[in-house]
Assembly symmetry: C2
Homo-oligomer: 306 residues x 2
């Protein structure tokens, strides 16, 4: 079933201990969409400048990603971000951020998007996220991501937005900040009370924890031989997670999700996040096959079962 | 089957955000033994002063822990350590260390210990660890723990000691320091080359990873509602891990261990480490039952299977 993805499409400059790329395709919506498109039909809502390269547009289109909702601003420039990773890649310093056309992003959904049953809202201003959801006419499972900046400076707007979300996907420091509680179990309980009945807390190299209906599920981080570039890994996790659920048509019944399917969705998210780190930017998704995805899913099983 | 445990028996002063205890039973060998004794017969090799309380001796003896190898130095004082945990408990500051009788610890094995098949060497000077192993006559599976200090300042002695170890249990920063490699997979491959064919890398709240014969297994950290005192959790992990293997008589065959049993041993280690954090010092082990251990083992399964 169709998944609408809202967020940034950008150009990134990235330097890691393994190399440096001055300008390459990036942005949360790009990573989410490329990841989710392995599972289901994806429709992007985003904005780019007229510097957005045909080759990048073709890459997205080649994955049957619907670009009807990707607005091109004439005379505008695409969002640009440049970052530097520390030697152990656990820290990232932003060197440059030019919001460009993304600074005035007002997501507008084409008519053809509005009846899609799945919605994944990337990390944008909470009121904009709410506006997108309001444009959807038959959404069955929706939610998304947020970040420290919105939690701190737009808390009221974010809390209003979260009320209607089925799921929230954030990292552990964001979960602690949002809930005001250090302990993850208790943080999760508080966040459930804010709206999202399904919560996934991402823990970087340590994996992810899913909380739903009094149960939790822990997925380990995949032990990569070499991490080339972690940019976008969390977004690829989100794309794999939602892509799997959308493909299978999983949605809440009497407020409850099928826990077995949610567990698999978390593992597919982890699989996609792990592949993302294996090459710079989106490069791994230029060659990644369904067989490789299935093989890694089985690897997750074999390194966790007892 | 019998397990010989060598290491410190101590008094600890501990302060965490949940409280403060000025003086209570502690030490690596104490935690290891109390944990392992839930699974198998344990024989302690340690040294204490004549300030060592009868009540503490009785606690150990009540678990059928053999104290024939626990030397009491007349006029001597038991090792004392005092530490303070940070608000999130991820950092620990040592306030006071008085080695006392432990400073001259020369482990001597009673005759009745020497034929034991299992040996777990707590974190002491590597040459002393080697001396203990040399006193064993029929050991089938041996190894232990070490720390940054020995890795940095006694590297040659440690490398000599590791050559004869079947397993090594260390944390992730120690694994990186010992191997000189950041990436855990490649660090593990290097450490296998130093001797220990079974490696467990402990990652604190994030669980543990087992490496053996080209396979790895990842155990999550148990999500505790409240961590009262993490002191001794790593030692309790080691005790559960080795206690389970010793109880089942698991040993290398043609250099290979039964991977299914190793996986279970890691989970029992994680179970015991998690219980340790639930109360101050060794207090949780005063009331912990076998039924609680089995229930938590099943909980680990239910929060990881997919």
């Amino acid at each position: 079933m169709s998944l609408v993805v809202v967020g940034s499409v950008a150009y990134d400059g990235v330097e890691t201990p393994h190399g440096k790329v001055d300008r390459m395709l990036g942005g949360a919506a790009t990573y989410i969409a490329l990841s989710a498109a392995y599972f289901t039909e994806v429709k992007i809502v985003a904005v780019v400048g007229d510097d957005f390269a045909d080759a990048d547009r073709h890459l997205l289109a080649s994955r049957r990603i619907d670009l009807a909702g990707m607005e091109t601003v004439k005379g505008g420039k695409t969002f640009f971000w440049k970052g530097l990773y520390s030697a152990d890649m656990n820290e990232r310093t932003t060197i440059e951020t030019n919001l460009n056309v993304f600074g005035d992003f007002q997501p507008k959904l084409p008519e053809s998007y509005r009846s899609a049953p799945y919605l994944l809202l990337g990390n944008i201003q909470p009121t904009l996220q709410r506006g997108v959801r309001a444009q959807m006419t038959g959404v069955k499972f929706s939610g998304g991501d947020t970040m420290n900046y919105w939690i701190n400076d737009f808390r009221a707007e974010l809390l209003e937005t979260l009320k209607s979300w089925d799921f929230l996907l954030i990292n552990d420091s964001e979960a602690r900040l949002l809930s005001g509680v250090d302990n993850l179990q208790r943080a999760a309980a508080k966040i459930h009370g804010l709206g999202p009945r399904t919560l996934v807390i991402k823990r970087g190299e340590y994996g992810a924890v899913l909380f739903h209906a009094g149960h939790h599920f822990m997925a380990p981080g995949y032990l990569l031989e070499r991490v080339f570039d972690p940019t976008g890994a969390g977004d690829c996790f989100a794309g794999g997670f939602m892509g799997y659920l959308a493909a299978r048509g999983i949605r809440p019944k009497d407020g409850h999700m099928d826990m077995a399917e949610l567990r698999k969705a978390v593992i597919y998210g982890s699989v996609m996040g792990s592949f993302c780190c294996e090459q710079f930017g989106v490069d791994r998704f230029r060659t990644l096959t369904h067989n490789e995805i299935e093989a890694r899913f089985q690897e997750f099983r074999s390194c966790t079962e007892f």
